[in-house]
Amino acid sequence: MELIYEISVEGRRGVRLPASDVPAATPLPGEFLRAEPAGLPELSELDVVRHFTKLSRRNIGVDTTFYPLGSCTMKYNPKATEEAARLFLPLHPMIALLPGGEALAQGTLAIIHHMGELLEEITGMDAVTCQPLAGAHGEMTGIMLIAAYHKAKGNRKKYVIVPDSSHGTNPASAAMVGYQVVTIPTAPYGDMDLDAFKAALNGEVAAVMMTCPNTLGLFNPHIKEICDLAHDAGALVYYDGANLNAILGQLRPGDVGFDVVHVNLHKTFGTPHGSGGPGSGPVGVKKALIPFLPMPQVVRRKDGHLALLNDNPQSIGRVANFFGNFGVIARAYAYTLMLGREGLIDVSEKAVLNANYVMNRLKDLYDLPFDQTCMHECVFSAGRLLQHDVHAIDIAKFLIDKGFHPPTVYFPMIVKEAIMIEPTETESKATLDAFIGAMREAAELAEKDPAALKRAPVTTPISRLDETKAAREQNVCFA
């Protein structure tokens, strides 16, 4: 399909601007001005509409297709939450920060504040900030909070312990905050090797970061012990709650002893993923860490009004422009109100049911590196198919032709030829059965006609792409 720059016609005009009701200003001196207009396309409104409508039809999403992309919780995003977020579009965030301005934002502040309270109860933590703009941003914020805690206590810490079954953002976030990352391998039970962990634990460890359930979709039954050991060593424990979908109403990180947790509103709380974002990664903490929360913090004054705390000297400072991805928070809030207590418990029950159903219906044809009850997702290895020269990627492409978005492949990296399937709770048995059928067909084809898998996909507007060429040529901008 043509690029939008390729359909541009010199002199063509699109959206018209309001007429000016003031005189033209004296032009700025030339040195401040751009030599010529930026090379934006020149299009009619219809050109624009048709271009992006066509592009959208070269995409699939949850609304068109089952999308069991592991670790991404591609559940149905209720349309009513889109309507809810629309209610708050015109409010300028700066207004709340003006002297006397909070009074003009009581509605939006109440949403942030109440969402924080709901998340406190959901995670069992003492306080929540909704400021972080995605899960990884929450992690970084959380590790900064831990760093500030240790600094305030005069603790000198150098390391963050991260099992290799944790999400890639965990070590990356720890490194962003300046810690050295100690990686612990996975033991046969499916999570962090406890002996190796104990060996790595020492007084210079700032934190232990657990993804729970981990990237294998498994729940670690030793998390309490890990928390206790870490605390004994003077380390805090971080709970990557991006997989909260599995444990809503079943377990609360705060009850177990975790000190910091982040959740992904765009996964567990049903907000759409927008071709890559926006997300929202609120962070919950235990009491000891509250003094360090980022500013501005939404607090309730004694008179019941909501206010912004802007001048806390112990705070880590600021991690985002304003108050977080408000529109995402509002959607998640709408979602949480609709589901309520029973609805949220229902989420984890059905998410786990769906994942175990898929796992059990496929485990005869694909290897399960850790054959046990999974949580909200299951991870297979397509290693068995390598004998036919068939790779996980071939299975993925075949699934596209069958009308499915593929699962996550080659992640987690600790599983060879990983196929990571997260069905989510909003998918029906009929959909899962169709997907299972396609996965089984793929395994059979791997034996009988591997070339057919290698050809896939054939139903898409383009076939497999040359990724090496892209990386080599680095053509990232239309010339």
Partner: protein, 444 residues
């Protein structure tokens, strides 16, 4: 209940296939003693009850005429932006790991990257960052990585929120941050010259800056590069319809808030941050990047590229921890730019400056009010008032006007100064009202 489709019959069949007796059995890996001690949440409700509740909450917000900016701007948003970004194939998709069924997102993001490059005059853009502030922090870390040095110099006239983010991001790293107090609301070039040495990784400026001042940094590039540092500039996307782009000023990394491009104010988010750099630094960019390639039949297509920079592969050695970004908001930015087009963006920028210049004159005509400095401005400018700006703002909020941002909050000593923003959405009538009310607040 909620949005799950399961009927009792289906649940029974599924449990049988799994070989367990109940859904509860599936949670056996969670030890009893770790089970939730409480889950005290309100009961659920229908979407209609939820909407009624949120409508009530929305009604608790006030409405005022905003003459404030500070990174987010009240610009027009053509209806096509909401409409096209509302195509659910875009917003219910995720990161396009599987390019064959994601060419829509991928091509759009490639077009977005191209638009950012064209706006900034640089060669390599990623597919978006969280916001302008975190983009500035990422630019600092990028410069630190590229130069291997340990100091960044930041103009104090950079948005104070963004400077705070940079400080927070770098707080735990072995890095020194030097903030140069602005002189007359502009970069203190003299002091900067004295601080530029071989420890300096980056000089970070903003154009227009928080006071509204517009600069030509063309000479700065050479100076900074001579010291082996990089020049980083934050920019205001809409202003680039008129102002000299960073690429023409020797800037190495440009960042900014993309909100002004078709994203609603929405109480501060979601919008997006952009980052663009000279091509040679592409491998140091944070986040997703889309690249052009071909399929087996030689047809053009787009893929995520240079993924080896990213956390899901490189883990702690990644260029950043960012995973989810703000793609949908970046898409809105692209649609906005495409629907205004080349001439439209120029006109929009000019309209902003015309309105702001008109307002500047109107407000400077108010008794006791003077213009902060004679630096050129775009659509924001600072004023000195004969009173504490904070008090004036409070008074005018009660009259339904957000008159500007009091500078004293962020620049101690400037308690009587106010930065005023005038976008194309402000009418002559609103400007006259502001002038009248300002006069009233000052002298009645």
């Amino acid at each position: 209940m909620g949005f799950t489709p399961h009927t009792p019959e289906e649940i029974r069949e599924m449990l049988a296939a799994i070989g367990v007796g109940s859904i509860g059995d599936l949670f056996h890996p969670i030890p009893k003693e770790l089970r939730a001690r409480s889950f005290d949440l309100p009961p659920g409700m229908s979407e209609f009850e939820m909407m009624a509740r949120l409508q009530e909450m929305a009604a608790q917000n006030g409405r005022v005429v905003p003459f404030v900016g500070g990174g987010y701007y009240d610009h027009v948003i053509p209806a096509v932006v909401d409409h096209l970004a509302g195509r659910s194939e875009f917003y219910t998709a995720y990161t396009p790991y599987q390019p064959e069924c994601s060419q829509g997102s991928l091509q759009a993001l490639f077009e977005y990257q191209s638009a950012i490059c064209r706006l900034t005059g640089l060669e390599a853009s990623n597919a978006s960052l969280y916001d302008g502030g975190t983009a500035l922090a990422e630019a600092a870390m990028m410069a630190l990585r590229i130069t291997g040095r340990s100091r960044v110099i930041m103009d104090g006239a950079v948005n104070p929120f963004h400077r705070a983010i940079v400080r927070t991001y770098l707080a735990n790293l072995p890095v020194e941050i030097v903030e140069l107090p602005p002189v007359n609301g502009m970069l203190d070039r003299q002091s900067l010259a004295g601080k530029l040495d071989d420890r300096c990784a980056a000089v970070m400026v903003q154009n227009p800056n928080f006071f509204g001042g517009v600069a030509d940094y063309s000479d700065l590039g050479a100076q900074v590069h001579k010291s082996g540092a990089l020049l980083v500039s934050a920019v205001y996307a809409v202003s680039l319809g008129l102002l000299k782009p960073p690429g023409e000023m020797g800037v190495d990394i440009a960042v900014g808030d993309g909100q002004s491009l078709g994203n609603h104010l929405s109480f501060g988010g979601p919008a997006f941050g952009f980052i663009a750099a000279r091509k040679q630094y592409i491998r140091n960019l944070p986040g997703r990047i889309v690249g052009e390639t071909v399929d087996r039949e030689g047809r053009r297509g787009f893929v995520l590229t240079l993924q080896a920079r990213e956390q899901h592969i490189k883990r702690h050695k990644a260029t950043s921890n960012i995973c989810s970004n703000q793609s949908l908001c970046a898409l809105r930015g692209l649609i906005f730019l495409a629907s205004l087009g080349k001439r439209g963006l120029t006109e929009l920028a000019r309209l902003n400056r015309d309105k702001a210049e008109y307002a500047k004159r109107a407000l400077a005509a108010v008794r006791g009010v003077t213009i902060f400095s004679d630096a050129p401005t775009f659509n924001e400018f600072s004023l000195r008032l004969p009173k504490r700006a904070g008090d004036v703002v409070v008074a005018l909020l009660r009259r339904g006007i957000a008159a500007g941002v009091p500078l004293g909050t962020y620049y101690p000593g400037e308690e009587n100064s106010l930065v005023v923003t005038v976008t194309e959405r402000r009418t002559k009538g609103e400007i006259a009202l502001l002038a009248r009310e300002l006069e009233g607040a000052l002298w009645n």
